[in-house]
Subunit: 348 residues, 2 copies
């Protein structure tokens, strides 16, 4: 069985020879090769230069026996195509220069085809696919989910309480619906275009969904995620839904329509699967901090996750959130190899 | 039925005439009266001056028809008694000048009687009780929980990933056990002393427990919370356990031994109660941001929570986390009055 089929088969809950593994932000600052590229190019330049994005996408594939690549991009560039000014400020992360605050701001947001607004990522996907095919490694495309994009568009930067975003959601439900409808169309079309450019699976990052109450999530976020997924669904590739802090309403993650639900470490994998039901694949769920621990501690936690996944077809090993910059690359290598070695006899 | 019995009866899951309500951080910056005191005194001065702590404790009781007061203090002062240097830095929150990083640091931590290390809060409780008794308002004492105190002691300040705290927990389990055992004894004795000084209920704040994986929580945090609660239990007063982001392993919150489990807005109150079992009271769980919304939006969310609590005896209305400084006091008044008015017919 080739690595390609291992990951894609797991997405479809088909039998595999071992548990597939990839890591969120696997192309990132913990890798010397990535830091070398970043020394010469700002983040948005890498994202917008297909050759550089392709190069960085392949770095972790060259270093580790990972079962999937994910195109190097960011969750926020779709907002640029809508007319927002995005920059990555040193030490404070992404900042929107002209955040959305009023009904007029929402009315001005453009909904344009991704071929026009995000051609660089589609080109990067084409380049990366050409290189990955010979290695039989599938490529994942992705986008921020409507709620997370809305929260960023409104707050303009990371936030502790999301007062502005929730404020608009709670006090202006009609404006919120307009904003979220636009976002769901942009996100859906972007995911679809990535699949058509060559992405063999798609992941939706709703990184901040866990800030919402269970009922606000169901009423004000879930329908728009469902809409985006319904659009992307036309491509016929597996769709992964990622969120954190959503263990309280995990059942709703299944209702997004995704084929794979990515869960964080705040829930036991076995408990998560029981609540989600057997007819969905599950991705996760190592605490990223465990990758900084001595091997024994890392191994014990990895083994516990694999043991919980046990007999299930449809487990994709991953972290519960992105890999931390402080992670020793050696630990990544040992983790990847261990997941394959330990799980193979269980799958046999 | 007096307000006192309303809150304490609900803690014991006994029938009440209406749903009791109090709000975490109800004495705080959203109140002009509090800001006035803070203009003249730094935070630690208020906490360490019983007359000032008592005055601030009573401010929200004078302004709103709340069913309980909570002594004005902070979760971190128990660390000072152990030998750590605590200060509240402008704009960055609490900072520990000499954080715990090594086995030697842990060995040096002192376990002293709270009468010696935290007499000011015990005195403040005596003063506040004298004033609250005539109004029939019960007084809640509290402490940070062992894990949250350990995380702060190690990190030295707020953290995004708790890499240092989790790092010590994962790589040095014996040292971690020593640290957590000391903390659980300090916390347990402090809670017990507060009850003996007059606190009629006790709340344990494990504000950061939700950063842990389900299994790390059960192995490395829960046993020490259980130990602290077992010590405090001798006082015979109801014990409330507060945490956020723990919806993934909510069942473990029940295993702490608390009489009341405080849940955040990331889980429906009805789902939470189902998972916790009927033989525990539940506190919560409004999103604090809802208190900044227009009344209609706030009322709708409040009503939904009360509807979910429905027939259950043992619901204490509260926020899922502390009240935000930006909260309009008028909204607090409307919320408190609405909770009483709307719930009374259901309880009748």
């Amino acid at each position: 069985m080739t690595p390609e089929s291992r990951f894609l088969r797991a997405c479809r809950r088909e039998a595999t020879d071992a548990t597939p593994i990839w890591l969120m932000r696997q192309a990132g600052r913990y890798m010397p090769a990535y830091r070398h590229v970043r020394e010469h190019h700002p983040l948005l330049t890498i994202i917008k230069t297909p050759e550089l994005a392709c190069e960085v996408t392949l770095q972790p594939i060259e270093a580790f026996e990972l079962d999937a690549a994910i195109i190097f991009a960011d969750i926020l560039p779709p907002l640029e195509g809508m007319g927002l000014h995005l920059r990555f400020a040193e030490g404070e992360g992404p900042v929107i220069g002209n955040p959305v605050r009023t009904v007029d701001d929402i009315a001005r947001l453009r909904v344009l085809p991704p071929e026009e607004t995000l051609p660089f990522t589609l080109d990067a996907i084409r380049l990366a696919r050409a290189q990955l095919d010979s290695r039989n490694i599938p490529l994942i495309g992705f986008s921020g989910a409507p709620f997370t994009l809305a929260a960023y568009a409104i707050e303009g930067r990371g936030s502790r309480n999301y007062m502005l975003a929730k404020g608009l959601m709670m006090s202006e439900p009609v404006a919120w619906d307009t904003l979220m409808t636009k976002l769901s169309e942009v996100v859906g079309a972007y995911l679809l275009a990535q699949a058509r450019a060559g992405a063999q699976a798609l992941q939706l990052f709703d990184s901040w969904a866990g800030q919402l109450s269970a009922s606000d999530y169901r009423q004000h976020a879930l329908p728009y995620t469902q809409h985006a997924i319904a659009i992307a669904r036309q491509a016929g590739v597996p769709i992964i839904h990622f969120a954190t802090d959503t263990s309280g309403y995990l059942e709703a993650m299944r209702e997004t329509g995704a084929d794979v639900v990515s869960v964080d470490w705040r829930v036991d994998l076995s408990a998560a699967w029981q609540r989600l039901g057997a007819n969905v694949a599950v991705q996760g769920n190592l605490d990223p901090v465990a990758l900084l621990a001595p091997w024994d501690a890392l191994k014990q936690r990895t083994q516990a996750i694999l043991d919980q996944a046990g007999g299930h077809a449809g487990h994709i090993f991953n972290l519960g959130h992105g890999i931390l910059p402080e992670t020793p690359p050696d630990n990544v290598k040992r983790l990847v190899d261990f997941v394959h070695e330990y799980s193979a006899p269980v799958h046999a």
